[in-house]
Amino acid sequence: MLNYDPFDYALHDDPYATYRRLRDEAPVFHNEKFGFWALSRYDDCQTAVRNFGLFSSAQGTTLEPIKAEVPTLINADPPVHTKMRHLIAGMFTPAKVAVLEADVRALAGELLAPHRDSGRIDIITDFAAKLPMAIISRLLGFPKADEDMLRGLTDTVVHRDEGVFEMPDEGMHASIKLYGYFAEDMKRRAAGPPRDDIIAALMDAERSGALSHEEVLGYIFILSIAGNETTTKLIGNMIFQLHRHPDQLALLRAEPELLPSAIEETMRYDGPTQMMARTATRDIALHGRTIPAGAKVALLFTCANRDERKYEDAEVYDVRRNPRDHLGFGGGLHACLGAALARLEAKVAMEELLAMMGDFAVEEAGLQRMHSPQVRGFTHVPVAFAA
């Protein structure tokens, strides 16, 4: 029987056959066990992310009930969301993040240096897990010495135990530690000279009364998690797909200017953010079914990205496609704030990896995955390459 259960580890290994059946057989799917609904076609997901009046984020974007009382950027609708997003949205445009390119490249070079001559690297643990956290730490002004600790805590926050419908205790404890760290950091800043960065902008908003102290902490929490997790998984998924599609890798090597297109295609075909949830504000009649008001609705972005109603040969990985309208970064008001930064990091990461590695192969027996209902990607991608 057709089922969609994002808490089932087996789905994480290969969700795409299930996704195809959902699009074809049950475009409005009801999971009776957990009581949520799921939309899987491109048009439906795109409509939903744009129609925030009908598909609200205010009850959270996870299927599980939210535990936080404080509104955060992703768990808010206008006008609260509007106020929060505009505080820093101007800092994440392509031109604003472009100035970070030299920094990203230098960091990438540092991380790759110890592996350059060895012919072996774990794409995730040696490289992709460290690069985005280093950049977001720099943007948020955290000391380098704290990066590993912060990454450990943010990883723990997103992990879900198999079959369990809520954040495990470890995740709650990690969240509390992160909030404590951010609060201490703000105290240190308040005592020191003013800085010019994201947290400084948020602290200004607190002083002017636009945000409460708790809202600032929640904001930093979201930024630290978002900056860490998904870009890591994108780089890992891209190396894996290029390994699995040697013709596409050869094309990319022959025409390096295809890299931005190849990144968009990886986001479409195997992007890390599989799903984000909304809550129906009214009864929603669609494809012969009715989603009741108040129900959680999963929007299956990576499934929608493979909808053949939208993309020709949608299940084919084609680095020439350049699908700029994919839903890998979501869409509408909540579209990924850090998308331009993610694109920059992925571009530099791939340039540096492909320059270092001659022929390479992922050692598939050593692949390991993370487990989350929403984010899909590897925790280990061991690669052997021609140095």
Partner: protein, 105 residues
């Protein structure tokens, strides 16, 4: 609340009320305007919120930044009165603004 009117490709005029701090793109999504997509959520990187501003309003909008100008430069349907909805914040001075939604790129 300032009211903004969007004339869709099908000719229908949709009027939406802007909430505080909203941009033309966000206001359009609130009003369910066809053809304003907002793929990138307002970070000036998709141009799916492109609008043509009614001539009498062009000079009354806040000036265009370089990033917005660069994005518009790449559009097939660009015109002198083109703006990206996500880069224009709505305030009371824009109450009554009329924009047209160009064809999709």
């Amino acid at each position: 609340m300032p009211k903004i009117t969007y004339v869709q490709q099908d000719g229908e005029a949709v009027t939406a009320d802007a909430l505080p701090l909203m941009t033309l793109m966000e206001t359009a999504l609130m009003g369910g305007v066809d053809g304003i997509i907002g793929t990138c959520g307002g970070i000036c990187s998709c141009a799916t919120c492109h609008v043509w501003v009614a001539p009498e309003w062009v000079d009354r909008l806040p000036p265009m930044g370089q990033e917005e100008a660069d994005m518009i430069e790449g559009l097939v349907h660009r015109r002198p009165e083109s703006r990206l909805g996500c880069q224009v914040q709505v305030d009371e001075a824009l109450d009554g603004l009329v924009v047209r939604v160009p064809p999709a790129e």
